[in-house]
């Protein structure tokens, strides 16, 4: 089931795929110079992405004209404001380090991530055709987050109590850049299971980049995410433990790490786009189990299986079962001489409850050697969307003003809170 072209019905990145190519060709030759230029650029991008995808499947070289070679990094300083991108403080040709640690960390870790994708997978930047890696640092005030905004990375300094600056960790920066890779490949929709896969891919390649930089085998790796950005006031080892989801922290202010490591503990919630940072624990653990069973360095075999799955097999609405069956299928394609690799990948997904051992009567229908999709997972995929929780009687308009004059009464417990 190799995809050799693009599927415009997937949605996601409208800049690349939504407008049909023939329409762009008309715009590119239209009289409006600005429109024509934009359309021309989009058309070139689309053509090169299609060519790149074809290249991944066929091994044929992609046209060199549209592809920029080599890393391009730009670091911008927001200086505590929310205005993006901020002021340019370092770019690719500036070899002199900045006196600001955060500048050098953002620059260095983006470079390591770029090198990893180029060296291990032959990928030029997040889009495969040399997109400039833009990072903004010192975003907002005491900002407890790092994010990818669809175009660039953004890093806060942390509050100094729970989090320190988010540029301090290579795995965090590789995580954010991998959101870019996903956006330009599988375009996994950012909610529920596809969103948890999106998050998991960022953790998987985030830790892989760290392991590669440190030269660690799967047995030496700590499989922790965010360990280097936690401040002394935080009670825990890291934000996530891919090998033991749910055990990374237990903090009096933040509560306990809520990640499940098995499908039976999948968390149904409305928060965080359906728990994308929570349920990612399940595919994260599947990756660790597969990588440990296969052994060696994570990026050599297991990482390659996950990379091809992300960039060639998955589409926007993929769920855990799809990811499981595709990784097994990719493992068979990449390592036809060693069927034990595909078997180890299948067993990893079975160990987290996404696949299960097939009853002997179902062998004809199986999808992964001796495994089938677990009934619980099949039922979830077939089930209607989450039932809406019962609506409370709405407050009449201007109730705030009225209520401001009445004595507050005991709270009406929200039914929504039960789902959190």
């Amino acid at each position: 089931m190799h995809s050799t072209g693009f599927d415009a019905s997937r949605g996601g990145c409208p800049c690349c795929f939504i407008v049909p190519p023939q329409m762009l060709q008309r715009l590119a030759t239209s009289g409006d110079a600005g429109l024509a230029e934009t359309a021309g650029r989009t058309l070139r991008l689309t053509q090169s992405l299609v060519a790149f995808r074809a290249q991944l499947s066929t091994g044929a070289p992609s046209p060199a004209a549209a592809k920029r070679i080599g890393p391009r990094r730009q670091i911008f300083d927001c200086k505590g404001f929310n205005d993006l991108p901020g002021d340019l403080v370092r770019s690719e040709t500036d070899t002199a380090p900045s006196p600001d640690k955060a500048v050098n960390e953002a620059f260095g870790h983006a470079g390591t991530t770029w090198d990893f994708y180029k060296t291990i997978f032959g990928r030029e930047s997040v889009d495969g055709i040399g997109k400039t890696l833009v990072s903004s640092i010192h975003y907002s005030q005491k900002y407890d987050n790092a994010f990818w905004n669809g175009q660039q990375m953004v890093y806060g300094d942390g509050d100094g109590v729970i989090f320190q600056r988010f540029t301090a960790a290579l795995d965090v920066i590789a995580h954010e850049l991998t959101h870019g890779v996903t956006q330009f490949s599988a375009q996994l929709a950012y909610r529920d299971q596809s969103g948890a896969l999106n998050e998991s891919m960022s953790d998987v390649f985030g830790t892989m980049v760290k392991q590669w930089a440190l030269g660690q085998t799967v047995d030496q790796a700590d499989w922790l995410i965010g360990a280097a950005i936690m401040a002394p006031g935080f009670s825990g080892r890291a934000l996530r433990d891919m090998a033991n989801p749910g055990s990374a922290y237990d903090d009096p202010r933040l509560g306990k790490d809520p990640q499940p490591g098995d499908m039976k503990d999948y968390v149904q919630t409305e928060a965080d786009n359906g728990g994308v940072h929570t349920n990612s624990g399940i595919p994260n653990r599947a990756f660790v189990l597969a990588a440990k069973a296969i052994g060696g360095n994570s990026w050599e075999k297991t990482g390659k299986i996950w990379y091809v799955t992300l960039t060639e097999r998955l589409t926007g609405n993929a769920d855990f079962a799809k990811c499981a069956t595709e990784t097994v299928s990719v493992a068979r394609d990449l390592f036809p001489e060693d069927s034990s690799i595909a078997a180890k990948v299948a067993k990893a997904w079975a160990d987290v409850g996404v696949l299960e051992e097939a009853p002997s009567t179902a062998l004809l229908a199986n999808i992964a050697g001796a495994y089938v999709i677990a009934p619980r997972v099949r039922e979830m995929a077939a089930a209607a969307p989450l039932p809406k929780t019962k609506k409370k009687k709405p407050l009449p308009p201007r109730a705030a003003g009225k209520a401001a004059r009445v004595t507050p009464k005991k709270k009406a417990k929200s039914s929504r809170s039960k789902t959190r």
């Binding site: 994010f147 928060a271 407050l395 109730a399 929200s414």
Partner: protein
Amino acid sequence: MKIIVERSGGFAGILRRGEKELSALSPEQQMALQKLLDAGAPPAPAQMGADRFTYRIEVQDEHGSRSFIFPEALMPASLAGIATGP
């Protein structure tokens, strides 16, 4: 009347939740809340990218409760801090 502010998502994926009585809100916060109850939350396009925060404001009084969901970029700044602040 009680106001509950929840922040979910972000790279850490840690749910933060805080609540305040209306009487404990600053004048600026009361104005933001009044505006929200009068006009409702603005229609919000899906957030681009990944690891952004999502906010939920719940207002409770003896008549019932109302909830408002905000992407990070549209969250009233004066109310956002209730999720994490003391």
